[in-house]
């Protein structure tokens, strides 16, 4: 198990290397770089020198890539092409916001999905079950930005109880967090319910019931633990997904997070920022994927790991 764990951890490095390579290639392939080389109004030589030092525009491509890698490892992505600030500062300021938003959304999703999934599994085929299924389905089929737009309309414009945009105070965080949590909440409800249902039907639950244990003990002791496995395995990727996938919510609510930054940088062709965000997110996702494998190994000894 330990060997396997180490192997998986080490694998993250070549993975990220290739991600960096692909990112670099894409950035080079993209036309329309704001810093065009032909100029009749030249930039001051100090600026040109700084740009060359940073991006190595005057060096051959493979050297540029090595330069890029070396800097990336130190979180140095140079300065933004469209703004006068270091990429590191820009992202450093915005990443905590996205992280906070993602984690809050996940906690909220768990807090509601787990009980809901369990209860509807226990009350299989009743109104509660169908209700939660309906909710779960709606949460995964209605696009989140549509819900966002209408939430703004009702809560802010019509009812005046919540603000339209921004971040920082509790009232500003409510809407983005809730709406971001809806899709994972729906999904988690389905998973929880399905795996609870399956766990309940297992033989050992029947055995436990037959042995005369109280309903409570049956549920808590056996079913939950096994139902928790699929949920536990997806938590990592889900968190990563929430942190990296919040750009729509951030754009609609003007939350100053990395997602919105990414979208603006795409539109502004600010390649250093785009590459940095992409690498950062790939890193987060790799770690999250890693946790899935490790959790599998820990939680369920029946599952063969590393075969």
């Amino acid at each position: 198990m330990a060997a396997y764990a180490i192997q998986r951890v080490l694998l993250v490095i070549p993975t990220l290397f290739f991600v960096a390579l692909i990112t670099f290639v894409l950035a080079k392939a993209a036309p329309g770089n704001p810093f065009d080389r032909n100029e009749n109004r030249p930039l001051p030589p100090t600026t040109i020198e700084r740009l060359n030092r940073q991006y190595g525009f005057d060096k051959p491509v493979h050297e540029q890539f090595v330069l890029f890698l070396g800097n990336a490892v130190r979180f140095d992505f140079g300065s933004s092409l469209t703004r006068d600030r270091d990429v590191r500062d820009i992202i450093g300021g915005e990443f905590p916001v996205s992280a906070q938003l993602g984690v809050q959304a996940l906690l909220l999703a768990l807090a509601i999905a787990l009980p809901l999934g369990i209860i509807s599994a226990l009350k299989h085929n009743t109104a509660v079950d169908y209700g939660s299924l309906l909710f779960a389905t709606a949460g995964t089929t209605i696009p989140s930005f549509v819900i966002a737009v209408f939430a703004i309309y009702f809560f802010a414009v019509k009812l005046h109880v919540l603000p339209v945009y921004g971040w920082g105070t509790v009232d500003k965080m409510v809407l983005p967090t809730v709406i971001l949590s809806l899709a994972p909440m729906a999904f988690l409800t389905r998973i929880t319910r399905a795996s609870m249902l399956e766990a309940i039907r297992q033989d050992y639950v029947r055995t436990a019931r037959a042995k005369g244990l109280g309903e409570q003990a049956v549920i808590v002791g056996h079913a939950l633990k096994n139902a928790a496995i699929p949920v536990a395995t997806v938590i990592g990727p889900f968190t990563a997904g929430l942190i990296t996938g919040s750009f729509l919510i951030e754009t609609v609510f003007s939350v100053p997070g990395v997602g919105r930054e990414f979208v603006n940088s795409i539109l502004g062709r600010d390649y250093p920022v785009i590459m940095a965000v992409f690498l950062l997110f790939a890193f987060i996702i790799s770690i999250a994927n890693l946790t899935v494998d490790l959790v599998y190994g820990l939680l369920d000894p029946r599952i063969k790991v590393g075969q």
Binding site: P34, N40, I90, V157, V164, I266, D270
Partner: protein, 562 residues
């Protein structure tokens, strides 16, 4: 006496910002300011929230050219002169009195008044102003508005030095040759290369804002961050959360006395729909209403009562890159200009303002040419022009890229235009949305100017020079790359012509030439509507405002709530 300058404006920013209109439903334009009369007890801790629109590319006074950039600058700095809100003529501000002008109108001497301080308490001296003006001319600054200072001796030569080949000694020599001298702590003198009656207006502009040497030393290229962005205007910048908001507080050292508003927050909401929702939710206090919002406003009596018409002095146009195919052929440019229905655009889409059926200069300003029919909508004539051009039937007329700042509302306007050109000319135009801040950068330089783009120009002060010369002279601010020597000579001659009739006639001729050569297709003249919450008072608006109540900012106040 008449003076003329202009500023750049960004289409969607105008919609989101407070900008002012020249015409109101065909009535003759009024030049008087709109004042929100007082009433209500001013709140000494009053806070104002407005929408800046998008993150400014730069707020360096010696580089900026866009309205939202200037909005920040004019709040934090003040020039030697200002403009009178009623007459729009220059009046002394930091200068103690009107400048002393030599007989040949080439030497201008300004004397500063006593007691003017920066927001950190240090006194403002003539040297600070010299530094500011010189910085605009400095080739290393590479500002967008240097052109307006070319009237000063030595500025043009210095500004055009090639930095790749110039030595430090040459650069220093260039600076020393510029005709701006400090006579003592309170006196500064300008030597002009030609007589320029409008120089008083130039002295009000951001190109001549004072700057502390300490700020530049400490901040370097980042001196525009709050810690070093020290000015002598009514407000100081205390916080700048990039892409989110800027927060200003009253400058207690301001020579006119501390402004009535304590704190002024400017947020950056790019989507007009979100800004409108924020206004209705009392999260922002002032909003430039857009056509999409009008229906809701008309239906809501409370909103309707907060709406006021606003004078404008801007023209929006579709710019062409005259150095790239197919727009290097003037026939193609004029064909595009004549093949969309401006009146339809106003009545169906924009619902505010008036269609640009005259020349470049909008109604209400000297030089407005209502008989200029050169670019009027005529699809048949447009098709002819296209057929005559060298690109008739050529592939360059397909997939012509039209770049704009990405925004749900602008998208539909661009698509409307796309359809017009498709139907009337048979050309396919491709929409190319870009991030707003990046867009302002693209259009500021010739090398990055898009093939087609949409932009606006607003008057800096009322004079043809500010439009015809400053914008479309080949060294001027517009980056279409269009150059016509006859036009250049004509406008330069008009700039210096002392007799008003001859001057107006020359400008008229130039204006017609401009419309015919069509480096840009005039779209519409701006006329806007402003929503102001009832607790915001003391606002004096003019047609030239880049920021709410620009020329009497310190009088704005917020009444106590409740």
């Amino acid at each position: 006496m008449p003076l003329a300058r202009a500023r750049r404006a960004l289409a969607l920013l105008i919609a989101a910002l407070l900008v002012l209109a020249a015409c109101q439903q065909g009535q003759p334009p009024t030049t008087g300011p709109v004042t929100q009369t007082g009433g209500g007890e001013p709140d000494p801790d009053g806070e104002l929230v407005t929408n800046l629109g998008s993150e400014p590319d730069t707020i360096d006074p010696h580089k900026a050219s866009f309205v939202h950039e200037i909005a920040v600058i004019m709040s934090v700095f003040e020039g030697l002169m200002s403009l009178d809100p009623q007459t729009l003529k220059p009046v002394p501000a930091v200068a103690a009195k009107d400048p002393e002008i030599s007989a040949d109108q080439k030497t201008w001497k300004f004397t500063l008044r006593d007691g003017v301080k920066f927001s950190d308490g240090t006194p403002v001296t003539a040297r600070d102003y010299q530094r500011g003006f010189l910085r605009t001319c400095d080739p290393r600054t590479a500002g967008d508005y240097a052109f307006v200072l070319y009237v000063v001796v030595g500025c043009e030569a210095w500004n055009n030095m090639d930095l790749r080949t110039a030595t430090t000694a040459q650069i220093e020599a260039g600076r020393d040759a510029v005709g701006i001298r400090v006579l003592d702590d309170k006196t500064i003198e300008f030597q002009l290369a030609e007589p320029a009656a409008y120089f008083g207006s130039i002295a009000y502009m951001w190109v001549g804002m004072p700057v502390k040497q300490e700020s530049l030393d400490k901040g370097g290229e980042r001196w525009t961050e709050p810690e070093t962005y020290i000015g002598n205007g009514p407000f100081k910048l205390v916080e700048w959360k990039h892409n989110e908001r800027m927060v200003f507080e009253r400058n207690d050292s301001y020579w006119r006395g501390a402004p009535k508003v304590k704190r002024w927050t400017r947020v950056m909401i790019q989507e007009g729909a979100t800004a409108f929702a924020a206004y209705r939710n009392n999260e922002i206090d002032v909003l430039g209403a857009a056509a999409e919002d009008l229906r809701t406003i008309e239906a809501d009596p409370e909103l309707k009562s907060q709406l006021s018409d606003v004078e404008g002095s801007c023209t929006f146009y579709i710019g062409f890159n005259a150095k790239r195919a197919p727009f290097d052929d003037p026939n193609v440019r004029l064909a595009f200009a004549r093949s969309f229905d401006r009146d339809g655009y106003i009545s169906d889409i924009q619902k505010m303002g008036t269609s640009a059926n005259g020349g470049f200069i909008p109604p209400g300003l000297p030089g407005y040419d209502k008989d200029d029919a050169v670019q009027r909508y005529d699809p048949a004539a447009a098709k002819d022009l296209l057929a005559k051009s060298k690109y008739a039937g050529a592939p360059e007329l397909q997939n012509v890229k039209f770049t704009y700042a990405s925004n749900a509302r602008t998208k539909t306007r661009v698509e409307w235009l796309q359809q017009q050109w498709k139907n009337n000319l048979g050309v396919t135009v491709v929409a190319d949305p870009v991030d707003a801040t990046a867009y302002t950068q693209l259009v500021k330089r010739q090398e990055t100017t898009p093939l087609m783009f949409i932009l606006g120009w607003c008057a800096d002060f009322p004079d043809q020079q500010n439009w015809l010369t400053t914008v479309f002279h080949s060294s001027g601010i517009s980056k279409t790359g269009w150059k016509n020597e006859k036009y250049d000579a004509l406008v330069k001659q008009a700039d210096q012509e002392p007799a008003k009739d001859r001057r107006d006639a020359m400008y008229l001729e130039a204006s017609r030439m401009l419309s015919a050569e069509a480096p840009a297709a005039w779209l519409y003249y701006v006329s806007g509507k402003l929503l102001i919450k009832p607790w915001v008072k003391g606002v004096t608006t003019t047609a030239l405002d880049s920021v709410l109540g620009q020329f009497r900012m310190w009088e704005i106040y917020v009444t106590k709530k409740g």
